[in-house]
Symmetry: C2
Subunit: 420 residues, 2 copies
């Protein structure tokens, strides 16, 4: 017997037929004697419709009201799935965030879970009742208003519920059957990764892989929750019920490093197309200049990623290149215009015609030469590197967007990730 959290995203509950399919996935676990809590997103498209209505009324609206409107989507799915389960002869009830309660901070629209009182939920689950929990939302403690966790927040809800009820595993059902070495649409030879460490998954998520929300992986890592990524788009009877002793047989298991017997030097290649490059030319090279550029950007909550600085031939001026999210480029440029008024003339150039390609692998820690091999491979293909950033377990380069697929394919092959 295992205690299992099963999370189903928007495409997995997009219509009544798919909700019935989810009910069959849950039934498989119940029939095997497992205790189950399910976390659901809104039906695909529902949240977008709600957001569109809100935006039509007011582009900058009260986030508390935004949350009250948008949270209704998960409420609908949770009730419908509870009914589908009952129709299949399973004892089940829906739980809304405020009913459990899932307490959050007051950052409406992007709230963080502060505390879950899982006692009542756990008792019901242990008695064999399936709990169907609304993802993406909780209740803000001070005023009792509904707060949502931001896009993709249902993954985080699922992990938090897994912590609260002491689940053995948190299975994230999605429209792919696991985490791949890279996007299979770009590299058909991409392979499913059977086991991946939290650290690697974190890098993957933050570097462009859309399978799991970054925050959910952080939370799983902190509390040691074993996460699995599975597909809901298979016949429910084709998947085995959860067996804690044999989790790694299907999907991708995200777990701690020491549970992975044979680590790869490189686990995967990620790429992110929503980057923009900003270059500042001919700025006076004196102490404090970087702080006077990046300080105002940080104050405006603009996340700066890769930074490269060159000294100009005259030794008095410098050039600086950095990246921001493409969506934040207009705001970043406005901030820089203000900085220019303060710092004196410099030239600003920007482009969102770039892509960040990253090589990720926990084995890098003990293997030299991973970065050198990356640079050599790109050089062999005639691809110019615009910026580089590294961490202990990844190397990222910024390149022209035209070369994205070429670079990803070449790197996937050179690190031995292509399927045999």
């Amino acid at each position: 017997m295992a205690v299992v959290v099963m999370k189903f995203g928007g495409t997995s509950v997009a219509n009544i037929e798919r909700i019935q399919n989810v009910a069959r996935h849950v039934k498989r676990e119940v029939d095997a004697g497992n205790k189950v809590a399910v976390v659901v997103s809104a039906m695909a498209g529902a949240t977008n419709q709600l957001v569109d209505w809100v935006r039509e009324l007011s582009p900058l609206c009260d986030a508390r009201e935004y949350d009250a409107v948008v949270a209704s989507g998960e409420q609908v799915t949770a009730g419908l799935l509870a009914i589908a389960l009952q129709s299949a002869g399973i004892t089940a009830r829906s739980w809304q965030g405020w009913q459990i309660p899932i307490r959050t901070d007051a950052t409406h629209g992007a709230a963080r879970i502060a505390e879950i009182d899982g006692g009542r939920l756990r008792a019901r689950v242990e008695q064999g009742e399936v709990a169907v929990v609304t993802g993406f939302q909780g209740i803000e403690s001070d005023h009792g208003r509904i707060a949502t966790l931001g896009r993709g927040g249902s993954d985080t809800s699922a992990v938090a519920i897994a912590v609260a009820i002491g689940a053995d595993v948190c299975d994230i059902y999605t429209d792919v059957d696991g985490v791949y070495t890279t996007d299979p649409r770009v590299v058909p030879e991409a392979q499913r990764i059977a086991r991946i460490s939290y650290e690697e998954m974190l890098e993957m998520a933050s570097l462009g892989s859309k399978v799991l929300q970054t925050r959910s992986v952080e939370l799983a890592m902190v509390y040691g929750v074993r996460l699995r990524v599975l597909s809901s788009f298979v016949d429910p009877s084709d998947l085995p019920a959860v067996d804690v002793g044999a989790l790694g047989d299907i999907g991708t298991t995200v777990c701690s490093e020491d549970e992975i017997v044979e680590t790869q030097v490189v686990s995967g290649i990620a790429f992110a197309k929503d980057e923009a490059k900003v270059t500042i030319l001919n700025i006076e090279d004196k102490p404090g200049v970087a702080a006077r550029i990046f300080g105002p950007l940080a104050e405006s909550s603009i996340n700066v990623d890769m930074i490269v600085q060159n000294v100009a031939p005259d030794g008095l001026h410098t050039d600086m290149t950095f990246t921001v999210q493409a969506a934040e480029l207009p705001r970043a440029l406005k901030v820089l215009e203000r900085v220019r008024a303060d710092l004196g003339e410099f030239e600003i150039r920007s482009s969102d015609d770039v892509v960040k390609v990253s090589v990720i692998g926990i084995g890098m820690r003990s293997h030299a030469g991973v970065a050198a091999k990356m640079f050599q491979t790109l050089s062999d293909k005639g691809i110019n590197i615009l910026a580089i950033s590294t961490s202990e377990i990844k190397v990222s380069v910024l390149i022209n967007a035209d070369y994205a697929e070429l670079a990803v394919r070449a790197l996937h092959e050179v690190y031995g990730l292509d399927a045999q």
Copy 2:
């Protein structure tokens, strides 16, 4: 300054444009210095979509889950209206049933309001904040689950909120500009009624007029809440703001009898097409036979309305005719089959090809001859009466559905209700 509850139904909030129109109605009251609580229904069509999904999963589902799903519609409208009001510069917030809380009994799907703790709401409204309250729903006290009040329940929510915050008037905005002497689609000469007593409105509502939910009128009568029926489909600037001293100038005011100076003998003609007639022929005429027929029907929660009994020429057998809601006819017939097995052979005939036409007027109490005039008028038109029922302030007859319009027009004229 007045404290005003404004209730807007589904067609009044059917889309973003109409929600913005509602915001302008509210702004008119706020600008006049009135304190406002708004009660909203789900956007027209939203509840039907939710109910369809539930039915597709399970025709007979857990009413608690049904309620969790269906209540989401009002949550959306309340949030959207709060945003629209804020965009118009008005301080506003949405309130869900469980946040106030509106406590109900446990009859999910058709719950009754048990208690509203209006203190917090009243304080905020008195400070000038517009409260936008979800209609149709509350929270069931014992288990903290959402409970809905049944179709049309938002009218009842509005009256209950008016009681809880001590409002001066409860304005029900709908797609017509008041209560009419009869349906204007049938009788173009029908006139808007300026003032009508609770008792008459109750009869109108229960006899087929769809303007107000019966229960909301009962509640208003018990607590003496002045109700008005107004149209939201007019330019908000064309209506005057609430002035407690001059409520009767627009729409229809529903109030106590002693506030109506000049009462009509007959106030209106109602008709209900959703009736079905059941006739039982040749049943043995002995004591207790009626109880053995109507007892089982009552136990099955089937509401029997008009009852007529004739003694057959042999003196030993009797015929009985009664009406039920057309939707309940199949269930009623099943119950009668069981009764027949118990009571011995009798013949059952049924038809939903009937209509109940009612003449309503508080002045009947002091005027004889109202019923006689009704029967004579129908007789003059050659319309056969199938059954009759009367109360202190109404006379209802059951006739063949083919004659419905003819009967309503003739009665409307003969009681002097046609517009001059």
